[in-house]
């Protein structure tokens, strides 16, 4: 399970909502003065050092603090475009040339952003070797001149434009960071400094930082873009139920973690809801190893499970806006499989496959993280729902809940026969899902080794060879459709991500890239 891209979800386009102030809105309520925006989230904050952070809260904050070389145009994640730089890919997709494009960009101390800062930021990310370091694995970063940087990969790397907008690749003020222990190797000691003294060129800078309770941002007076209306942003660590009452009462203007049932109960006279399709894909996994389970490794049994799941009911559980998922790739990414090709429940087929599999009704241990929620889909509830649905086809599941850390370790050990997993996109490109192909990182966890599915592997080679976006879209779509039919993974639903916004905020931008843009709220 990995971090979501950007801040939250992904949508086809930008939802820019311009709302008239209504009588029920009125100012910022109890949330603070009119130039302060109070937002609430359930923290998973470790750090806001961009080269180290790999969590949702860190990404949310870094999106407001740091600018990136590229960004998605109008939040459309299929269109990476100009940020601090414009870009050009070589025809062999191995070299990306970045050209400095934003002359107004300045760090919070007034220093202009330079090519040196970009090179330092990328090399620091690689050198530290933290969680987000894999973004630039095998990429050689070089400054050509004061305006130009090249990123060279050994193999074709068409995903790079989709990677650079990630908040972990935010550009830091190299001079100040170096003065405070920043290096481009593992000896870097700038994390603590950057947590309380952010060095970005975004709309905000850090005023105070407490990873357990609250982070306060203030406007960066040297920001090159339009100055934000809210001069201070307070992001508080609060549970979902408290967020619900706070955003309704006006104690907070933005609530990030409401599930679909909570959203249903919101007073629409007080609160707007911005809904985005999630980039997280919950799936059922089966082992491919007969040694671990002769039952769940059987292809007929896996097909029985595919047809036994009542996907419509699972969508209802995930809440309004949830979509069918025809492959592990979210419906808005290039390379996804059209959702009308998603499996549908067919109990007769399920029973036929089950009969062919030789399954004799033995209970199968079904593993999942009981404390995990995937964009409002509580995995405990999902497991109980699947147990009930599969029972109708004659499959007995014995639920085996575990805390998420325990479950993740056990899943990684590759010894589980069946269970629920989830994958959050690190960047919006189909290459991020190659981990599910035979021999891939996640495929190995279910013992689906290289050579196990020649047809899938052939399609994978074709997809990797594709260069043009339309070719890539087609070839990856074929690959993931085949994976969905032959592989041991069964995607169950594409959940939704909800952001509740008190109507005292009259203008906001919520889109695929940034589910709530603090700088553009009014």
């Amino acid at each position: 399970m990995r971090r979501r891209i950007g801040t939250f979800g992904l949508a086809a386009g930008t939802v820019a909502a311009v709302l008239a102030t209504t009588a029920c809105g009125g100012g910022s309520g109890g949330g603070g003065s009119s130039d302060t925006l109070v937002a609430e989230s359930s923290f998973d904050l470790q750090t806001i050092d961009p080269a180290r952070q790999f969590e949702f809260t860190g990404s949310t904050l870094d999106n407001a603090i740091y600018q990136t070389a590229l960004k998605f145009e109008d939040g459309d994640l299929s269109k990476p475009g100009t940020g601090l730089c414009s870009f050009k890919m070589s025809s062999d997709q191995k070299t990306m040339t970045l050209t400095m494009a934003d002359e107004n960009a300045k760090f919070s101390d007034g220093t202009p952003v330079s090519a040196d800062d970009i090179v330092f930021s990328y090399k620091r990310l690689q050198g530290i070797g933290g969680n987000p370091a894999f973004f630039l694995d095998g990429v050689d970063v070089k400054k050509v001149d004061d305006k130009t940087i090249t990123l060279t990969s050994k193999d074709p790397n068409p995903a790079l434009p989709y990677i650079l907008p990630n908040a972990s690749l935010g550009i830091v003020n190299s001079k100040v960071v170096k003065e405070n222990g920043g290096t481009t190797d593992s000896k870097d000691k700038a994390q603590q400094f950057l947590d309380s003294n952010s060095q970005g060129s975004g709309a905000y800078k850090v005023e105070s930082y407490n990873a357990d309770s609250e982070v306060v941002l203030t406007a960066n007076e040297h920001f090159g873009g339009q100055a934000p209306k809210f001069k201070r942003v307070v992001l508080r660590n609060v549970g979902g139920e408290t967020q619900l009452s706070d955003v309704q009462s006006g104690q907070a203007q933005v609530a990030f973690d409401l599930n679909s049932d909570q959203v249903k109960n919101l007073d629409t006279g007080q609160v707007n809801v911005a809904t985005q399709p999630s980039t997280r894909s919950p799936y059922v996994f089966n082992t491919a190893s007969k040694d671990i389970s002769a039952v769940t490794s059987n292809a007929d049994f896996q097909n029985a499970v595919r047809y036994a799941i009542d996907y419509e009911k699972v969508q209802q559980l995930a809440g309004e806006g949830a979509q069918p998922l025809a492959s592990l790739v979210p419906n808005e990414f290039i390379g996804h499989v059209p959702k009308d090709q998603a499996f549908k429940r067919d109990l007769e087929k399920a029973k036929d496959y089950l009969k062919k599999s030789g399954y004799k009704g033995e209970a199968i241990t079904f593993n999942y993280a009981s404390d995990q929620t995937v964009n409002g889909v509580n995995l405990s509830q999902l497991a109980e729902t699947l147990q009930s649905q599969l029972k109708e086809a004659g499959i007995e599941l014995k639920l085996a809940p575990a805390p998420s850390s325990t479950q993740l370790d056990a899943f990684r050990s590759g010894k589980q026969a069946m269970g629920i997993g989830s994958w959050g996109a690190d960047f919006p490109d189909p290459t991020n899902y190659l981990v599910f192909t035979p021999g891939g990182t996640v495929a190995k966890r279910v013992k689906w080794e290289a050579g196990a599915a020649p047809e899938v592997e052939k399609l994978q080679k074709e997809a990797l060879a594709a260069k043009e976006p339309s070719d890539r879209n087609t070839s990856y779509s074929k690959l993931y459709a085949a994976l969905n039919k032959q592989g041991p993974f069964i995607p169950v639903v594409q959940p939704v991500s909800n952001v509740a916004i008190n109507k005292s905020v009259t203008k906001y931008v919520s889109n695929a890239d940034v589910s709530f843009d603090f700088a553009k709220a009014e």
């Binding site: 139920e241 619900l244 049932d261 009981s370 109980e384 147990q387 639920l399 575990a402």
Partner: protein
């Protein structure tokens, strides 16, 4: 403190007859002796224990507690008949508030809350009683051995008990349950491991007091072995306070189990469990009925066992009984 009991006149040990028979003297000040009633009972040749329980339950608290437990026991026994729906069936619309179709509403998966609350009694009550009996047995034996033999044995057992006492009960139970993995069986083991020291401490102090009693010393002089002395002479006289402690602990065991289930360390879904249901409800305050009714079930059962425990204590401790009697007369 020890409590010479009715068995001294009716039991097989003739030495028991050497104890005061009228329930007065030093015996009257000991818990377990009910002065007057006990003496009358002995005088009439009726075993005293047959009168004690009804006496204990004759208080208003005892009657209320007993009635509530009786109701829950009946519910547990007849749950399959009483449940209006299959407690596991996701057969109704999700999150329906209490109404004619589903008297206590439905949960997030469309299951009938009433059926789940009633069915959960079949898990919670027997398991809670089992846990208490097991910890009472284990703690009492260990405490008795420590108190009887003293010295090294006492040191080892009681330091072990201190070690367990050093941790907050629920935290230690959580750690053990997390290490063993979720599940009812493991939750029972976890609660057992954290609850035996209370019984061990009480049993130890009672046995230390009783072992120097004349009837115990006399038995040893006659050549009784240590186990026989513990089982025949001492055990009957230290059982009452342990019984009171056990009754009071049933509620505590239910709460600990509910706590573990709340943290997903107890009963494995979809088994209906009050603690797990409260946990589900907490994530959805607006569907208040999901947590409220199992919460009320926990409240009533815990309260009822505490009422019975209090009544037993009042009845078995003559000083308390006297005070209560004076207040009510």
């Amino acid at each position: 403190m020890s409590a010479p009991r009715e068995t001294r006149t009716t039991g097989p040990n003739p030495l028991h007859g050497s104890q005061p028979a009228d329930g007065t003297a030093d015996g009257a000040a000991l818990p377990g002796n009910a002065p007057g009633a006990g003496a009358d009972a002995v005088a009439r040749g009726i075993p005293r224990w047959r009168l004690r329980v009804p006496t204990a339950l004759r208080t208003p608290l005892g009657i209320v507690g007993g009635a509530i437990i009786a109701v829950w026991v009946l519910i547990a026994l007849f749950a399959p008949i009483l449940c209006p729906a299959d407690p596991l069936a996701q057969a109704f619309p999700r999150l329906q508030p209490p109404g004619p179709g589903n008297l206590l509403g439905t949960d997030e998966l469309g299951r009938d809350v009433l059926s789940r609350v009633l069915s959960a009694a079949r898990t919670t009550l027997p398991v809670a009683v089992l846990v208490v009996l097991a910890s009472m047995l284990a703690g009492s034996i260990l405490g008795a051995v420590a108190g009887y033999f003293g010295k090294f044995v006492d040191e080892v057992i009681m330091r072990l008990a201190d070690l367990v006492f050093a941790f907050p009960t629920i935290i230690l139970a959580m750690v053990i349950a997390a290490a063993l993995g979720p599940g009812l069986k493991n939750a029972v083991v976890a609660i057992l491991l954290v609850s035996w020291p209370s019984y061990a401490r009480v049993a130890r102090s009672l046995v230390m007091s009783a072992r120097s009693s004349e009837y115990v010393v006399a038995g040893r002089l006659l050549g009784f072995s240590a186990p026989r002395s513990l089982a025949v002479d001492i055990a009957p006289n230290v059982a009452s306070p342990l019984l009171v402690l056990g009754t009071l602990s049933v509620g505590e065991a239910i709460l600990t189990m509910a706590g573990l289930s709340f943290l997903s360390l107890g009963a494995v879904p979809p088994t209906p469990d009050w603690g797990a249901m409260v946990s589900e409800g907490v994530a959805n305050f607006s569907a208040w009925w999901i947590a409220l009714f199992p919460g009320l079930a926990i409240l009533t059962v815990v309260m009822a066992f505490n009422f019975i425990g209090d009544s037993l204590r009042d009845a078995l401790d003559p000083r308390t009984a006297r005070t209560v009697g004076e207040q009510t007369s």
